[in-house]
Amino acid sequence: MSGTSEAKHVLRCEDIEVSYGAFKAVTNVTYEFKPGLLYGLIGPNGAGKTTLMNALSGRARLSKGRVFLNDHEITKQSPHARTWAGLGRSFQITQIFAEMTVFENLRLAAQAHRFRLQPFWSPVGKFREIANDAEKVLSEIGLENSAHVNAGSLSHGDQRALEIGLALLSEPKVLLLDEPLAGVGHDVAEKAVELIRRVTEGLTVLLIEHNMDVVMEISDEIIVMLAGEILASGEAETIKRDPRVRTAYLGEEE
């Protein structure tokens, strides 16, 4: 935790642009994310939501603009360095170590966080604190009973939970969640929302989600994207009433 400026924002992007050839997937995006809030990022398919997330987490190269985390510029940093700086992330398409057990998955994430310089001459099982970290998150995401199951054979919902667990182990200040509920059944989704709420308490979260009810319910602020730009942002009620949003996104003519 650093300085007084942090009270204002943890993550800030300044006029960022990501272009693929002539196509601008994200453009003109300037935004400040305040600490401890949950931001719902919505917009039609192809609006640039995931690309924006890629730009923030370092997976997409910016053609313009700058990104700051806690007032430190991270524009040129690689994804792993941003993770170290406190930016965690889950993916739209589940990215886990499918042929390893759930516990091994989490232990790797704990190891990556604790040992950036990879101490060498000792079996990884000897590092008690790594196992402790992994076990703590294991119970947080409610997968204690599946600890020694291969991650690839978990149910889809549990895989999504594991994905969030992996991101949590880097002790992020900002968590980017790309459609954590994608493909999750209705009953499981409720549990997942509860999980997201619980584990992200106190964190700044940027959440992409298509289920409007969920987004409106759990977000402190909503950001609406259209054609690579931020169309509108604000509290759920304001967004719902915004005629631009209704026309462009919700597809309603007034």
């Binding site: 101490p119 000792s122 079996p123 590092f127």
Partner: protein, 315 residues
Amino acid sequence: MNAQRLLAFLVAIIISAPLLLPDGQGVGLVNAILIWSIFAIGFDLVFGVAGMLSFGHAAFFGVGAYTLSLLTMRMGWDFIPSLGAAGVVGGAVALVFSYFAIRVSGLFFALLTLALSQLIYIMAGTKLRMLTGGVDGIAGVPRPDLFGIDFYDDGNYYFFLLAVFILALLISGLIRISPLGQALRAIKSNEVRAEQIGFNVQRLQRSVFTISGIYAGVAGGLLASLIFYVGPQMLHWSTSGDVVIMVLLGGMGTLFGPILGVAIFEIMREWLSTQTSHWYGILGLIFIVCTIGMPKGIAGLIMQLWDRITPGGKS
């Protein structure tokens, strides 16, 4: 006993054959197996553990061989420091390769490592002829001179090679279960996720590639001293191909598999080449059949069989 121990036991029998057989029979073959195993164990750290298919390992192997030969014969260095230098130079060349090759992955990585190693092969045969002896190579590479033991006797040299082999195997085993080895497994399993949880993927890949280069350099130096000769053939791409075949045949990603692969490969080479001059083609055919029939190599097959004959006793 579990399947891992069974594999270890098989390896132990193969490498102690000269002690078990009357009159130290097979010592020449086992010496070659020990050296190629060091090469294969190191190669598998890159291939089996980190999941990078390199076609350039001949470069590190050959450069190690030349380093040991030149230092002992031209510079008058002792054998042991020269062998260390062979490892260091092998690792250094691997590190340089990695800066170019790790930017790309998969097939392009394989092709780039292949191209870089062929560059060194061609240079050794032409531009660096003064140093390397060109296509003739350098004959008369010495063996160690330690404790007054005559290592020019294959039976004695066996013990020296065995010691280096065991050290190489232990270090590889340690790396596999160390945080580094686990991180490499993660990268092989899912590079995107590995990077996102905070692993510096490229640096880890460079590290293991360099370690693997050290293994190859040491093995190359040892082979030069075993056959008293170094030539550009050791740098040729087919040497890279051989080690790929050995590891695939034995079982990539396993500690003991590559050694079994080397043993089969060398025994076949020894035996087939006395039967027919087309032995390399036949070896290739056997290899193709094996990789289709047992994708996890001999080690995988043995583990599978073991699980079947010991019901309930999953290893």
